[in-house]
Amino acid sequence: MNWIQALFKIDRRILFLLIAVVVILPLVKPLGLPTAVTIHAQNLFDAVDRIPPRTKPVLLSMDYSPSVMPELQPMSLAIIRHCLARRIPIIIMTLDPTGAGLAEDAIRKAAPEYPELKEGVDYVFAGYKVGGYLAMISIGQSFQATFPSDAAGHASKDVPILANIKNYDDIGLIVCIAGSAIVENWIVFAVTRYHATLGAGITAVSSADYYPFLQTGQLCGMLAGMKGGAEYEQLLANNNLSHAPKRASQGMDAISSAHILIIIFIFLGNIGYFLGRRKKA
């Protein structure tokens, strides 16, 4: 029986081709599979949404490197879009030496969608700060001393969004997006020491370590992995805040369909194996 043998040994190139198809298709033509929003993503969304427009800014710290970009960049973009749409000022910074390029990239993508908003008034990239947690303490002491100028070199006192920030008290919410333990530093120094409010976006692999902090309320909300990014995008769309392409949702579609394809293949392989064995016996 030829078709049994065919099931048993499908050429791996056919497998590869199908994987490529199920990964590419959802990216080009989004399936729009529904994303169940977790309570932690909802909480983070609410924390941002509660900030009154044109008041205290959100401080977004993009503390990651390009290697985890597929998982985390959509989260940063979603937060930026949320702030811009709601007219909540947003200050972006990074504590990762390779994060500057990613931050600039995110602004370059999101800002043109809101042509009426101005750099320096509604959003700004403050730049990279060396020193990890020392920089966090330093912001608590004096934001102006920590960031004497923005990344483009304008003196902070001349940048409207930065001019009146003295320390964490003038910040509505901190959101840290990271793939490493730096989130824990934010919790210890910004939250415990300076009682700032903190939300986080974390890679799927490390997210398990942070659930305890959600219980204690030290994190007001959390996005976990590409799925977390997809949830936030879903919330933006549900609230009619942004209809920009949902990168993480598309990515999740691609990942889900690839998983299902692999599962189907394992299934086919086993059916082929059993039928083939029965025939031999």
Binding site: R12, G131, L134, I137, S138, Q141, T192, R193
Partner: protein, 400 residues
């Protein structure tokens, strides 16, 4: 360091800032924030088991520590040379409750051997604060033995005794039984197969450095494989990731050819360095697999994400693959894509097994004895925990 000093000074002036923000009109009396209770029982002690420069401060938390909503954010630790009143902030501790005692290491002690005193300041949510009484004076010093590592020392000495004892038993000629390890019995067969087919063998020592013992184990196995390759005159390709591993691999293979009396058959060009880049190395080894079509691939050593790239490419070329690593996370990939997989410890046992050298086998016995002791400790510890509700076995295993 240069950053910290001004920060500390700034921190000292923080209370002043609180004053400067007093509203212009006189506040109504009930609005005056109640003071927060200070922490008590501040005890300073030299931090044990360190290189000096550090004093450990313990304290009983403020009465307001456990309040809900929180009344305090944490505690500042202030230090001054004893007898002087020049306190500076030396550290910060978050809230302690429900723990009965707080502990913080001040590792910025300026000088060993000088007496310092400490006090602590509870920082209220509203900027008010409660300052404790002074601690006892204490001085920091360095130690010459880490008492927190006594159990590690005991384990090391015990293990050393086991190894030496079993090696001596082997030396006087007591025979030591070692069970069959599937992947290793296959080595001979794999070499023979490559020879029959007239195709080369590929030996990939992984992307570890020489400080990874898996790499050393791999080089030990390479010595055995190279000898067989030299005997049968089967070409042996050894691409390298790490420079030092390359130099050793080169020596090992060269000596193997020398030992079987065929120094001229050694081709230096077959043992070479590729690149110190994980994926660059993987790309190049993939290239060797599909172009030189080795009949046997050895993937032994320290492997990371590239494990499956190499193993899966090798599987499609039809080579027999013998893999082994101590990177537990990569074992699932080797198991699925290779013919034989040496898991963790089996990799270390391999060179002893292949060399059939009684002295080398001795340590395997020492390892087995140690495993029996571990099993004993685990069972005993579980019984003590469940029967006595006691954690003393757990505490015994505490390491510093």
């Amino acid at each position: 360091m240069k950053l910290i000093l001004p920060l500390l000074v700034l921190l000292l002036f923080m209370p002043l800032l609180a004053f400067s923000q007093v509203p212009p009109e006189p506040a109504p009396p009930p609005a005056v924030p109640p003071t927060v209770a200070p922490p008590t029982d501040i005890v300073a002690k030299d931090t044990p088991n360190d290189a000096g420069g550090s004093i450990t401060v313990t304290f009983k938390p403020s009465m307001d520590d456990g309040a809900k909503p929180p009344k305090i954010t944490g505690y500042d630790v202030l230090r001054s040379p004893a007898g002087k009143d020049s306190f500076e902030v030396a550290g910060f501790s978050p809230r302690v409750a429900p723990e009965p005692v707080g502990r913080i290491n001040d590792s910025s002690v300026p000088q060993d051997g000088i007496l310092y005193v400490y006090k602590m300041r509870a920082i209220g949510v509203n900027g008010n604060e409660g300052v404790s009484a002074l601690s006892n004076p204490a001085r920091s010093s360095q130690q010459w033995f880490n008492t927190a590592r006594i159990n590690a020392l005991a384990a090391t000495v015990l293990f050393l005794i086991f190894v030496v004892a079993f090696v001596n038993r082997a030396r006087v000629g007591k025979s030591l039984f070692i069970r069959r390890i599937a992947g290793l019995s296959a080595v001979e067969e794999a070499v023979g197969r490559a020879t029959e087919m007239g195709r080369p063998m590929l030996y990939v020592p992984g992307i570890g450095t020489i400080s990874d013992i898996a790499t050393i184990a791999s080089l030990n196995i390479l010595a055995q494989v190279a000898k067989k390759a030299a005997e049968y005159e089967t070409p042996l390709i050894v691409p390298n990731f790490d420079p030092i591993v390359y130099t050793v691999a080169h020596e090992v293979v060269k000596e193997a050819y020398l030992e079987v009396g065929k120094p001229d058959a050694f081709k230096a060009d077959n043992v070479y360095f590729i690149t110190n880049d994980q994926m660059g190395y993987a790309a190049a080894v993939d290239g060797i697999m599909v172009r030189d079509k080795p009949a046997t691939n050895f993937l032994l050593g320290s492997f990371f994400a590239e494990s499956l790239i190499l193993a899966e490419t090798g599987a499609t070329t039809g080579a027999i693959q013998i893999a082994g690593t101590d990177q537990v996370a990569q074992l699932p990939f080797f198991i699925t894509a290779c013919d034989y997989t040496l898991m963790g410890e089996e990799l270390y046992a391999a060179s002893a097994y292949l060399a059939k050298e009684p002295l080398l086998l001795g340590t395997l016995k020492a390892q087995d004895l140690s495993k029996m002791i571990i099993v004993g400790i685990l069972i005993l510890g579980a019984l003590v925990t469940l029967a006595l509700r006691s954690g003393w076995v757990i505490n015994m295993l505490n390491v510093g």
